[in-house]
């Protein structure tokens, strides 16, 4: 063996014969079937009850921010796809929106409408696959996930025929979108949106009244609205606690004020509420999609004044944010007038939402940890960046 490698680790001291009193320390992850990636938790258990839980991050720390500071503004756009790899369209939008704010770029009307449509489609597929994963974590192994992925594939097909890639769309550009809709796309999208409620009905029938699901989720991982606000929780998780804060309403970016939709709110802030929040949000998204598709105007899809190459925004800094499917996704950019951002920071919703993971899990059994983690809806690409 060459130098520097681990020698055989010293054997741990023999276990004592005492059974009570000591906490059992368990390391869950990074290789675990239901940690949604390479997430690790150090859990201290008393019997089955969680007494302490410390999340360990960094197993997917891909230096997104450092790379963003070393590449041009345009060059970071494909990297944002890989942040939250379920929702590349909303990531693109958040980044494009921030740069547009930074450089004062106008976006044509048609492009904004397209962005809304694509963002809501992203929300649909994210929430659908989240429900599948969550049920998978609860022991409904396979079936709901298969159903969810069946619907997801349909949306991915739409993304693929529009942008050329199933997951890494890299579709938006500063001042608009990269290309216009291919022929026949709108009809396919309409068909999908019209057919989606049927899937939702079926899926809700599968889960909503299921006694096992109710037993596993109701009153599990309850979160108070005060703690949620203080801990910076955003997205469906915040609204499940009854706090009415949806950036689509608050900031009103991207023509959202033109659409009629309701913000579903929860009551208890437990896992069941968080789960249902997703189902309800999907219904609202379908409503937004229908309105946006009806109103979609003709016209250019990109601001012709924006240069593709050698794009240099003026000196300044900006924080732009949108309501991603997982919560508030923000980009903080500092420009020093050169072609690369001086500081490129992503405010990842699922990372901040994990802050209170320990508070939610304390006192519950170790099996509930997986359900609570699943209901937070994390994607490691975004948590660790």
């Amino acid at each position: 063996m060459s130098a520097g490698f681990h020698e055989l680790e010293e054997a741990p001291p023999l276990m004592t014969s005492r059974l009570e009193g000591d906490l059992l320390e368990v390391s869950m992850g990074p290789q675990h079937p239901s940690t949604h990636g390479v997430f690790r938790m150090n859990v201290a258990l008393e019997g089955e009850i969680v007494r302490k839980l410390k999340p360990v991050f960094g197993y997917l720390h891909r230096n997104h921010e450092k790379i963003g500071e070393n590449t041009s503004y345009l060059g970071s756009m494909p990297y944002t796809d890989r942040l939250d790899y379920f929702c590349s369209m909303t990531n693109n939008w958040a980044y494009a929106l921030s740069v547009e704010k930074l450089a004062g770029i106008e976006v044509p009307e048609r492009a904004e409408y397209l962005r809304v449509i694509l963002a809501e489609l992203t929300r649909l597929q994210n929430h659908a696959s989240l429900l599948g994963f969550l049920l998978s974590d609860m022991g409904a192994w396979g079936t709901p996930l298969m159903y969810a992925f069946r619907e997801r594939e349909k949306i991915l097909d739409l993304f693929e025929s529009l942008s050329g890639s199933r997951m890494m769309c890299d579709y938006m550009r500063f001042g608009g979108c990269r290309c216009d809709l291919p022929p026949g796309w709108m009809e396919r999208a309409r068909k999908l949106v019209d057919g989606f409620p049927r899937f939702l009905d079926e899926f809700e029938k599968l889960i909503v009244s299921n006694e096992i699901l109710i037993a596993r989720t109701q009153n599990v991982g309850s979160l108070s609205s005060e703690l949620a606000i203080n801990a910076g929780i955003t997205g469906p998780m915040l609204r499940a606690c009854g706090v009415n804060y949806d950036l689509r309403k608050v900031d009103g970016y991207g023509f959202y004020p033109r659409f009629k939709f309701r913000v579903p709110l929860g009551d208890h802030g437990d896992c069941y509420d968080r789960l249902m929040m997703r189902a309800l949000e999907m219904r609202e998204s379908i409503g937004i999609l229908k309105q946006a598709m009806e109103q979609l105007p003709a016209g250019p899809i990109i601001n012709p004044k924006v240069k593709l190459r050698a794009f240099k925004p003026p000196v300044g800094e900006v924080y732009g944010r949108i309501e991603g499917p997982k919560g508030e996704l923000g980009f903080y950019l500092i420009s020093d007038g050169s072609a690369n951002p001086y500081r490129y920071r992503v405010r990842p919703p699922s990372f901040v939402n994990l802050t209170i993971l320990e508070d939610l899990c304390l006192g519950h059994t170790v099996a509930d940890v997986m359900v609570i983690l699943g209901s937070i809806d994390i994607v490691m690409g975004e948590v660790d960046r």
Partner: protein, 221 residues
């Protein structure tokens, strides 16, 4: 929401002794920020959060920024006596701005739905003096984000309950997001190098004498 000047004035009245500076932000985004002094930062932020008109209860984003030592040279007209005559002579002056690390927080109000108010705190220098007051006791959401700033920038937050490395492993000693960070050398195989990578790949190849004089591209079995 009231203007930044009003916020500043009210905060200075509420927290005696606090020194708040408004950092302008040119450009179309126009998000100027408040620079807080380290001694009174927590008190001022507490005021911002609890004041009934502001109620900035949502600390959305916390991040670090690294500013290296900068030399700014500017031309100054200086009156000088040259050959018995007073003349205006142009001279280049070099101003040295010592580097510092900065923590930036973006505060919003969920109650009143306004924001952002950007606040920033600065360290004394980039070495031993890289200490800042922690805002985690006021905003729970800063907990992991401040740990991240500590991990990647090396800012020590006083008052943080659990300041450890979060993304890198514990044995790691560098602060990789700093501008002067040098990454480890693993440029053995770079088939498409240019610019910086080319330089590094060349360096790497020159330090491996056993591979010198090899063919252009040979796959060794």
């Amino acid at each position: 929401m009231e203007s930044l000047e009003e916020i500043k004035a009210r905060a200075e009245r509420a927290v005696p002794g606090a020194k708040i500076t408004i950092v302008p932000n040119p450009g179309p985004a126009n998000q100027p920020s408040l620079l807080l002094d380290n001694e009174h930062a927590t008190a001022v932020v507490q005021f911002l959060r609890d004041d009934s008109e502001l109620r900035l209860d949502h600390c959305s984003n916390a991040t670090g920024v690294d500013w290296l030592d900068r030399k700014v040279s500017k031309k100054v007209k200086v009156k000088k006596v040259v050959e018995g005559e007073e003349k205006e002579v142009e001279e280049t002056q070099e101003d040295l701005f010592p580097g510092y690390l900065e923590a930036v927080y973006h505060l919003y109000s969920m109650t009143h739905k306004h924001g952002p108010v950007v606040i920033r705190t600065r360290t004394k220098d980039r070495a031993e003096g890289a200490r800042l007051p922690s805002l985690t006791p006021i905003y729970r959401s800063a907990e992991f984000q401040e740990r991240e700033i500590f991990d990647l920038y090396g800012v020590r937050f006083d008052g943080h309950p659990d300041l450890r490395r979060i993304l890198m492993w514990d044995e790691f000693v560098d602060y990789p997001m700093r501008k002067d960070y040098r990454e480890p050398d693993d440029y053995e195989y770079e088939p498409t190098p240019h610019d910086e990578v080319l330089e590094k790949a060349k360096q790497h190849q020159s330090t491996r004498p056993e591979l010198d004089g090899a063919e252009k591209l040979t796959a060794r079995s």
